[in-house]
Symmetry: D2
């Protein structure tokens, strides 16, 4: 049936991708290489190795990689340099992890001489697009197997039946009807979609949330945190320098403790439908505020506005899966260029679900107290200049006004 | 000295504009018309009438207008249709009131045959620009007197001396050194700038805040509020239809009670310097979230993204004082056009400083559960279509990839 | 095989769509309704009726419509209001005709109770997208049959064999290998693609061009033409009022005579590949220049710049087939709003391939000689204002400069 | 009167700047340094030295620099990388020279220890803004003397009287009423403004044009020219490698001979009024077409569209004098990044006022004949993919359509 010789599978070790593993072996009669990534999702990954071995995967074909540092340093932080938000709310926690997985799948394909990749994303979601656009961009000739778009195991019942028929372990959760939500986690966020959430007029259940306490359950005392930035990236918390992934983990801990970063929204998928998603992004929510805070004193006004005007498009590119596109790279070059003076520290106050910037300073500050003051500025600013400024800015409107417009 | 015959002064009744009133009479030897607006700032306005009379202003030249409904209906709500935020944070509470004042000053100038207007904004701020651009756009030949850019009363001491010399009452606050902040209030917000706030690395004092309790002092129980929208504007709260200004007042009350809407930021003024401002926008903060919530289910994706891409420019126009410009009006036409289906209700949860959308529904919803579901959709969506979708979207990158890019 | 009951076919009467007509009857066993549009392509349409009858189409199922006026009034002119150009060069002559055809196909489907439409566009081009996006937008449940994506008649030989086997007349051109180009014409342009043009480094043959003489063969004397505009649309030429389609035809005649409007470019298709196209748009080329000319004196600067900033996206939407999308409509509302003062006349000089605006005037002109003059302006403009204007615009850069940036 | 010690004057040697030189000496009692730039304007510059000496300028304070190569390499070519056009027509020939002059003025100020600069631009135009914004950005503390905004020599008569009174030579042209236009020239263009051109409804006189023959007077035979690009910049003509300024001079010669690059337009000045300008940009007009031609085969679609969407803002920045601003620099970083694959050659046909791209090729071409072909492509492109592509792109509109929108 197939001309696929060897396929690299994005393998979580869970039920779905285990079924896929077996189905690939059966359907394509090809060798399977598994790739399991530690993105900080907080799950034990060694069981994936054991399962893969059980399916007859060669030990050298089992890749279990800790990519947390790379993830935060090369994907999350660059994205935050642009103050990226999709549709005014979403911090793109899932979207930003996919290009890294696509990249590793292709790297492993090249290392192992594989000619195909496969993943467990459905045909209705954005993740298939993100995986596949990335893979095609990085290896144009790659074959892609998306089982959910091909096979006939489209219902949960059929999937379970296939699992049992093939001796794939099914845990109690799945036997009892499966998770009430589809979840995805990495160091930036955990997401919830589908099933119990499919009615946008019903509030999400409190029991759903995993990473954050409810604001009501958060400490009764606020906590102040200082975040230090260098070249637009956070580098230290409360004076302690941390590696990117450790820093984000620390912010997650702080945010989670204070009930920060919950989001419930209806978003527009690239494949055309609206979808309700819930997200917990504790560290990212703090980081976004803090990054805007440090930019507020260090970025030139017009550069800041230029970034703001480009951000929606940049966010769209990431959401839609175009991380590896030339247009995202071009925008990144501009964004990164703007960050060389984004240095200094920001103090945030965390309290029962909210994060607020309360102070900020920088050796590269453009805030000039002498000029900003309402008191006597000793001639630093000549108020009379404003008259000419306004007059000329008004001129075109005055000419039009005289014509009766 | 002057060819000014009659000037309409934006008159608050406070010390500064009282000094200006007298100074105008002395310096320009002209008749003065006073305009005092009730924008919901929460101050008694009748004292302004008494003071004006004392300066010899003719009764028919004293305008004290309640413009609250017009303000919210024709300025605040149109702005919120665009989800407008300046520099990622600021809800433009001061900026949006200025064009209304400019419009009334010019209307009164036409009614009273005045040839000039005057205001108390300084030469360093944005407000002078907003007043004057508006005035010039609406009456191109108007003369504008901006005393702060002209006179020599630039220090507080000189101002007080002038007041005393001219029998203008100076209250204790001013005698004791003046307010620690420059404040401005209307139904949308209260702002604080200057003096004690001029060091961006020092947290604002708790005692500064006026409209909101501190999150810590807010009720320990969350409150749910339902907001209903019609054509993009809020029309009812918890099922009770309210006029625009009553609705915003109600949201202010709710937000204030729950410590919602405080903001401390460094912003970029149009006249070129950075400035630190603190704002309380309780109702507006709730409204922004809720409006995004109702749009999330009723707006087409690309229309929503188009609006998001135009918003930064629209916000800039309002911040910079171009409300009455033809380009703001052109954008408004587009924005208003998009709101015809923005109907329905949104439920928000208010709790100790944070506001979260938890549910939303609309007869005009574009959320289609049949298609969005992860379960069997009965053929409403053909997953195989996604393969072609991805393939063609990837094509240009694959061609480039084959060329070694 | 099929659940299609009745299909409306965009039918030119040529070989390809005749084969499609027969193939639809055979393959889908369904009734066929033919729609042939007179878009000003300059072909006799009655033969299409005779052919359709020969295939057994019911007389009441044969639609031959003169849509020239609607085409120019409701599609071409609205597009020119935005000075629309795709990729800096292309005037979108093909793109703008497709949404009208899609609209008529759906209108006819509703009139005749058809449940499907069909067209002769290939699976590699943009036209399939334009037809189908339009049809889906206007009738979401419509079935679409795109034979070129379905059948096995992909080579010219197979197509001819099918035609002969089914007694479909094949003219000499096709027997001799077919046209050297794929052509499409309407009142706005004629396009050439494919075959002899597939090598972008070879110049197109002079014999290809149909509507324009070569600049070398154009008259040796220049011709001046006055074009009058009302609300952004041209309404008269040399003082003679003309209907939209007659006006465009007149401009085509003038442009064609003077060798104006040839274009040879490589463009980026929506489906992902680059493609070389040659176009003749004589009247449109004149119109674009003239429209910019009249806007130059009647539009406010910032409105003009706003339009310029939105134009590339607007052009992309039309090129990609999104005429009937809500985002194109939203942009159109803005564009149309800006045209109310775009009235007046423009004089163009036509000569051997070039068109130049040489004069323009309008009762709504914003050109103010008193202010623009380099001579004494009698105080209309105070030069000293420029000092303050520059000072404040420079302020942020001066502050940055002092920090060593 | 003044605290200016030494001022660097942008000195052409002509009447106006000679009067300014003397006026600076008299009014500010300061030392004057003259800077005369050879930008390729085609005038003898040594007379400027003699005149300066006559005014008592020290020999070491007379700067006469040939900046042609720097001008084209570091200003003109970077601008053309963005296909920059202001208001759809203007190639920014004057605008792009000003930042170079500003830079040299400041460099010379630093070398000579001057604390001020001065220029001869009027208070109504854009050039004052361009000089001064540049100067302030590069030397924030610099003092700027703009005599036209300060002195009382605002009429031509007063200027001539001052010249005669001060023994400044006045040539016949000025005695006879001065030039009929204000002109400015450099290697990119020559411009005409003012006086005889102040009526936009009157055609410019043929005698005005300097660099181009009229199309009617151009050769009767077309000329083909091959232009080679490397990294987005032209590097050779007809196979001959040329330095930037020599290459542009060669294109000017070719364009001028064929009557290419005349432009007559009404533009919007930054200071608020509309102004009529005529321009001759022979080489630039060819270069713009050629650059678009080479980009058409070498740039990715979305990168090209991103550039097109940013271009109007980039053009505005240059027109308005913000070359040395951080936002222009940020955009330049993006633009330059996109040009690394913009290599290859373009063939243009020049004939009686028009320039047309007729062929182009590149080792970095993304044009893929295998995929673009209408003939059998051997499976390089699967037409069926287009069905899914269209279906998903239409999905949101179909959902809306079902709701009756």
């Amino acid at each position: 049936m197939s001309d696929v010789k060897k396929v690299v599978l994005a393998y979580s070790g869970g039920l779905d991708t285990s079924v896929i593993l077996k189905w690939l072996q059966d359907t394509y009669q090809c060798e399977v290489v598994t790739f399991t990534a530690d993105l900080g999702q907080g799950e034990e990954l060694e069981p994936a190795r054991q399962k893969a071995l059980k399916f007859g995967i060669k030990p050298e074909h089992i890749y279990i990689d800790d990519v947390r540092e790379e993830f935060v340093r090369d994907f999350v932080f660059p994205m935050f340099r642009a103050n990226t938000i999709y549709e005014g709310e979403y911090l793109l926690g899932t979207s930003i992890a996919r290009p890294l997985i696509a990249k590793r799948l292709i790297e492993i394909a090249r290392e192992t001489g594989a000619d195909a990749i496969s993943h467990g994303a459905t045909g209705k979601g954005n993740d298939q697009v993100r995986f596949e656009l990335g893979a095609y961009a990085l290896m144009p000739e790659v074959k892609i197997i998306a089982p959910w778009r091909e096979w006939d195991l489209l219902s949960r019942e059929k999937l379970l039946a296939y699992a049992e028929a093939n001796d794939i372990p099914v845990d109690m959760k799945h036997k009892n009807g499966g998770a009430p939500y589809s979840m995805d986690a990495n160091l930036l966020h955990i997401s919830f979609e589908g099933r119990h959430l499919e009615d946008p007029k019903a509030e999400a259940e409190e029991s759903m949330w995993r990473w954050t306490v409810s604001p009501e359950a958060a400490p009764d005392a606020a906590e102040y945190v200082d975040i230090e930035f260098a070249n637009g990236d956070p580098v230290a918390i409360n004076g302690v320098a941390l590696k990117p992934h450790d820093l984000l983990a620390k912010l997650n801990e702080l945010g989670g403790k204070h009930g920060i970063g919950r989001l419930d929204l209806v978003e527009n998928r690239y494949v055309g439908m609206k979808s309700r998603g819930c997200y917990e992004t504790p560290g990212g929510t703090i980081l976004l505020k803090a990054h805007r805070g440090i930019e507020s004193i260090t970025l030139d006004r017009e550069v800041a506005h230029l970034k703001d005007s480009l951000m929606p498009r940049y966010a769209e590119l990431i959401y839609n899966g175009y991380w590896w596109s030339p247009e995202r790279r071009a925008l990144q070059v501009l964004i990164d260029h703007t960050q060389s003076y984004v240095n200094g520290w920001v103090r945030v106050k965390l309290y029962k679900g909210s994060v607020a910037v309360v102070a900020r300073d920088s050796k590269d500050t453009l805030f000039d107290q002498t000029i900003a003051t309402f008191d006597d500025d000793g001639g630093a600013y000549n108020q009379a200049d404003a008259g000419g400024f306004i007059k000329l800015n008004a001129l075109r409107m005055r000419i039009a006004g005289k014509k009766g417009r």
